[in-house]
């Protein structure tokens, strides 16, 4: 897994609540059997109209906005467990998703792919939207080591939470499989002594 330590970049605002994984990557694109290529269908039905042309009202198509940070409304990633949503966001080029709330499974899937789901307070989210909307070239600074997100022009910042184990994985590019396989003996012991089914 790719390491994540810190990042300073512009952001794309998506001021919509409850963005579900069906919007992030619609089910009809889940027929692939590898992880590649989902980026082109990210937010497919919001990004493109029925004729397949880019929808000019959607912020991912707005030339004003660019960058590897997506700032989205409350309860991002709800719905299906499809990890294809995290793969699509990553493949498109996002490295961090900022929201005031993340659905559990999406959060886990992102962390397992080196995509940082960064939860801020609703107040700070509002500040981010204001900053980006008033100046699309606003740079957002994210420091995982110190768990800090900062709006660079104003200096306004907020601390964010992350599970210490997961933080360590992100900082070092570790994934859970290596760790679990390294605990094989303990798992075997559990099976020998406590297995019920």
């Amino acid at each position: 897994m790719e390491k994540f330590i810190s990042l300073t970049d512009t952001a794309v605002p998506l001021e919509i609540e409850n963005i579900d994984t069906d919007q992030i990557i619609p089910a009809r694109f889940l027929k692939a059997t590898d992880k590649a290529g989902f980026g082109e269908n990210l937010f497919r039905d919001w990004r493109f109209n029925k004729e397949g042309n880019p929808n000019p009202d959607f912020n991912l198509n707005n030339k004003k906005y660019a960058g590897s940070i997506l700032v989205a409304g409350d309860n991002f990633g709800c719905g299906s467990s499809r990890e294809h949503a995290a793969w699509a966001l990553k493949a498109y080029g996002f490295k961090v998703i900022v929201s005031s709330y993340f659905a559990d499974i999406f959060k886990g899937n992102s962390l397992n792919n080196g995509l940082l789901p960064l939860q801020v307070s609703p107040e700070f989210l509002e500040k981010l939207f204001i900053a980006i909307n008033s100046d699309a070239s606003e740079k957002i600074h994210i420091d995982l080591e110190n768990q800090l997100i900062k709006i660079t022009s104003t200096g306004e910042s907020e601390k964010f939470d992350i599970d210490p184990y997961k933080k360590n994985c992100m900082l070092n590019g570790y994934d859970d499989i290596d760790f679990l396989v390294s605990r094989k003996e303990a798992i075997q012991k559990f099976e020998d002594t406590k297995l019920q089914f």
């Binding site: 919509i16 579900d20 069906d22 029925k50 299906s80 397992n112 210490p164 499989i177």
Partner: protein, 460 residues
């Protein structure tokens, strides 16, 4: 220390606790399907890691399968390839697969309980968010992503932080025509779609105690729609008699031994929850959703709420509805009875009892999709097939079908579908489709009337 049902099952499965980190949780059953498993098989292959316990994995094909002519080769090449990969992966790794055409084939959350694979006290995972369904048996069951599918393949364990505990109590007497689906749609409409995030939810109270296993599965299935990773109900005599005698359930002395253990799986009096809510059964009526998340639900007799926020306004615009309007008498051209929420025999019995002797309205396309081959057989054996067919409903072969529209069962753009599935997200049932979630009874009544109707006065 007083413990909840959830604590008891969780504690019995902790292999190790990592300091200031997650628990290593042992997984008793790992269910897989064609859509979220191929990348996990690839991952292990690339890293040269063997599958640790293939005997604890059961596979089915359900998400991406046709519901007509299942005996013929699948027309869509990508779908055909995905199913072929599942077969190859299972064969290479000695994993039991109930593929298309197998008598045990079906939607993963219908097939596993009906075969007795799901048993109280287990930990069950699947790369599907509706794995919460199995909580109906008093299990810790939750959906996982594909990276986690690979983790369970490699270690039969998962690294997970113990969720917080939530209890939802519903007591009283349900009104005539109110089904388990209405109960859960009501709860989500009251609590919201993220009220359960970070929690496991126990459902308690006489309403759940009196429900059949099918009803409990419907409720637990939609736990994820309020954000909860899973939902669970304490196992009782209803659970034990459902499990007993099923293909993979323990038999004889072994069953009695397990039953004695299962009887202890309930929340201790005085055990604490992080959050608790209570509702009265009398307040619940047949429900329907009007927006693009399952929390946007109202009673059939209510009007769409006023003064909504921007995101809700966007949802209403998508749906073509306005604040303050009633949905009664809205013409509906599509109904779907199926999905892991409502495709069990009881759902079809309920629908058939309303439909019997009636005809669907001419404008309606009515799709009935059983959850499994076994349910399909039961529909025939109980004479429900002729009721559906005589009423003009189209009875298909089992699968996830129009719930997520990965196959050809799609609702056309702009059309409304009263659906017994679990998600009314934009385009969920096909690009541009508009979904109204409801119970099998509401869907059946809509099909007969050709429009949304308050059917409760038609009930005996």
């Amino acid at each position: 220390m007083k413990r909840t049902l959830f604590d008891k099952i969780w504690d019995a499965h902790v292999v190790e606790t990592i300091t200031a980190g997650p628990d290593i949780l042992y997984i008793d059953k790992h269910l897989i399907h064609e859509v979220t498993s191929p990348q996990a098989f690839n991952e292990l292959r690339e890293r040269n890691i063997p599958i640790l316990r293939p005997d604890k994995i059961v596979a089915t094909a359900d998400h991406n399968t046709p519901t007509e002519n299942q005996h013929l080769p699948i027309k869509d090449l990508l779908s055909r390839n995905q199913l072929k990969q599942l077969s190859t992966n299972c064969e290479e790794n000695n994993i039991t697969l109930y593929g298309l055409g197998h008598p045990y084939n079906g939607i993963v959350h219908v097939m596993a309980p009906e075969l007795g694979i799901t048993q109280p006290g287990m930990t069950i995972v699947c790369g599907d968010s509706h794995t919460s369904t199995h909580g109906a048996f008093g299990t810790i069951a939750f959906g996982i992503g594909t990276s986690q599918v690979a983790q369970v393949f490699a270690s039969q364990c998962l690294l997970v932080e113990k969720p917080k505990k939530l209890r939802v109590n519903v007591n009283g007497k349900l009104k005539n025509g109110v089904l388990p689906k209405d109960v859960i749609l009501y709860l989500i409409s009251k609590l919201g779609t993220n009220s359960g995030t970070g929690y496991f939810c126990e459902y308690a109270g006489n309403v759940f105690e009196e429900m059949s296993m099918e009803g409990r599965m419907t409720v637990c299935n939609m736990s994820i729609e309020m954000g909860a990773r899973g939902g669970l109900i304490a196992p009782d005599e209803t659970t034990f008699s459902y499990v007993e005698g099923r293909e993979f359930a323990p038999k004889g002395v072994e069953f009695e031994k397990m039953k004695a253990y299962w009887k202890n799986l309930k929340t201790d009096e005085g055990a604490e929850f992080d959050k608790e809510y209570s509702f009265s059964a009398e307040d619940i009526e047949p429900m329907i959703t009007y927006g693009t998340n399952p929390g946007m639900g109202i009673k059939l007799t209510e009007a769409i709420p006023l003064n909504q926020g921007n995101s809700d306004k966007k949802a209403l615009e998508y749906m073509g509805f306005t604040e303050g309007e009633s949905l009664i008498d809205k013409p509906i051209n599509y109904i779907f009875i199926g999905s892991c929420t409502n495709s069990r025999i009881e759902d079809f019995r309920t629908a058939a009892s309303y439909i019997k002797g009636k005809q669907k309205a001419a404008n309606v396309n009515a799709l009935i999709v059983p959850g499994s081959r076994q349910v399909a057989e039961q529909i025939k054996a109980e004479g429900l097939q002729s009721i559906f067919e005589e009423a003009g409903f189209s009875l298909r072969q089992p699968g996830c079908s129009a719930c997520l529209a990965m196959n050809d069962d799609k609702i056309p753009a702009g059309e409304y579908c009263v659906s017994t599935s679990n998600r009314n997200f934009e385009g969920r049932q096909g690009q541009g489709s508009r979904t109204l979630l409801a119970s099998p009874l509401t869907a059946a009544a809509t099909a007969i009337a050709g429009k949304i109707t308050n059917f409760t006065h038609n009930l005996n």
